[in-house]
Amino acid sequence: MNNAKKNRLKDKAFEWVGIFASVIGILILAIFIGFILYMGLSRLDWDFMASLPSRFAEKSGIYTAWIGTLWVLGLTTLISFPVGVGAGIYLEEYAKNSKLNTLLEVNIANLAGVPSVIYGLLGLGIFVRMMNMGSSILAGALTLSLLILPIIIVATRESIRAVPGSIREASQGLGATKWQTIWNQILPASFGGILTGVILAVSRAVGETAPLIVVGALAYVPFAPRGPMDEFTVLPIQIFNWVTRPQHEFVINAAAAIIVLLGITLALNGVAVYLRHRWQNKMNW
């Protein structure tokens, strides 16, 4: 076998390894989703969405859980969006190459790797106890905001960096100030990417259980929250609570709740894809 043949063989082999690697991930995901749908789909109906938790699995529902999840989601977005995007703009556009800024950057990168339960403890100490918010939706949302801030900051910086330098130079060449350049050129051009980052970060927050349990989210809440200071429960906690019950019917409930949670995540990701697409077509210099 000559060298060229050998190389072609290696090439082919690597292709197959690659295909195998991609297929195995998708296959496992497909089996998992198929299993969940098979178990839970028949349980999923309007009653299930509109019922309060109950000791009878077949009467039990996720009304307070999905409303709680939407509340937490909304507040988390409201809080983390301005702070994260603001920090991203600062670090990318204004920050000088000082020691302090290097320190900031290293720490933000590291924060993205901190286990989520640690954020829960931080939230418990600062928001729940020191700031006296109690185990409220607001305390939970602030905790989750901290959790996803590093992701938003990194995504913002990446999308700002992707704006061609020539645009910046042209804008400043025409006499625009730095702020005008950012507001009128950079942000519109990078907004699709920023939004995608924010939504992906938020859809990660939707699935978080550990930090919310630490902050004091409850398992049984028989009323829908009316304001950000109310106690709350979320879907992942309801699911967690159900899978640990001895009765098999609760496991079916859990599967149905997982379908709803997957639906919310999928919808968020769909919005992200749509926004990215829309903003990409909008920019024409």
Binding site: R55, L138, L218, Y220, P222, M229
Partner: protein, 307 residues
């Protein structure tokens, strides 16, 4: 940017303007073992007192006590008694409390259905299997009783954060929290059910309710405590106390602050009136009627002391 600023000030306003209204709410947290009973009571209480707002968390007995002893909750679900360190904390924070038993739970020792050699364990044998010294030395069934097969023994039990684990080690080994470490541990009892039901040489322990829901996949071992014949856990044997030492009472703790509030008094009275039937419906074992009357008396005295 103006919009974002206004969102900020809106949030800041919310933070400072909205206090909580703890007077109306009945906040409960604590053990996930007691949770199903309290959830059932809270559910029934909705029709009894439609305006009430009862919430229940599942932070675990210890995590629940941390909140309870800071005055953040008024009732704590507990699958064990309060610890000396927690009693001390209660004194420091000036929080009075009363312990009320609400139901019994049996801890089942279970085997694979194909295990045909074990009929019962003595408490001594269970200790020999689970004590810390057994780690890496007791690895075969034949080491426990010579006529049992010369095969490996595989152990399954709840994780060390669980009240069931605390109770089991206390009752069997003689010291709460002391056991060998080389066993398969899970906080989710359904995982233990799965483990024991698929491993012929397995032995495990967990709450009786998990055995009853999976009775077709598991075999129950009787326990001999040296006082008469070996006993299997069941509604009767746990209730009359013959399944010893592996049956335990489950508690709720009510704080003195809670006892001052009419809404909490009503809820606890309702709890004690209905705990027996509701405990049965979620897989636990009710106490005898007179025991609930005793608890009611205990609570009434506590309420009087604090009002």
């Amino acid at each position: 940017m103006v919009k974002q600023l206004s969102i900020f000030s809106f949030l800041a306003l919310l933070m400072f303007s909205c206090g909580q209204s703890p007077q109306k709410d009945i906040k409960i947290d604590g053990s996930s073992t007691v949770y199903p009973i309290t959830e059932a009571v809270a559910e029934e209480y909705r029709s009894e007192a439609p305006g009430s707002r009862v919430t229940v968390g599942v932070s675990g007995t210890g995590g629940g006590f941390k909140q309870f002893l800071r005055g953040e909750t008024v009732i704590n679900n507990a699958s064990r008694s309060i610890k000396p360190s927690e009693v001390q904390l209660a004194e420091e924070n000036n929080i009075g409390y009363v312990q009320l038993s609400v139901a019994y739970d049996g801890i089942a020792v279970v085997l694979h259905p194909d295990n045909d050699w074990v009929d019962h364990f003595t408490v001594e044998e269970l200790k020999k299997i689970w004590e810390p010294d057994a780690q890496n030395t007791i690895t075969k069934w034949s080491q426990i009783r010579p006529e049992w097969p010369d095969e490996e023994i595989h152990l399954f039990g709840p994780g060390i954060a669980s009240g069931t684990y605390d109770y089991f080690t206390d009752a069997i080994v003689g010291e709460s929290g002391a056991s060998r470490g080389d066993y398969t541990a899970s906080e989710d009892d359904n995982v233990l059910v799965q483990g024991v039901s698929t491993d012929k040489s397995a032995v495990g322990f967990f709450g009786l309710a998990y055995y009853e829901e999976n009775a077709d996949k598991l075999r129950l071992a009787a326990v001999d405590n040296g006082e008469g014949a070996p006993v299997k856990p069941s509604l009767e044997t746990v209730k009359d106390g013959t399944y010893a030492p592996l049956s335990r009472p489950l508690f709720i703790y009510v704080s003195s602050e809670g006892a001052k509030r009419k809404s909490v008094q009503d809820f606890v009275n309702f709890y004690l009136d209905n705990a027996g039937s509701l405990a049965t419906s979620v897989g636990y074992i009710p106490m005898p009627e007179e025991e609930y009357a005793n608890q009611q008396e205990k609570f009434d005295t506590f309420v009087k002391e604090h009002n």
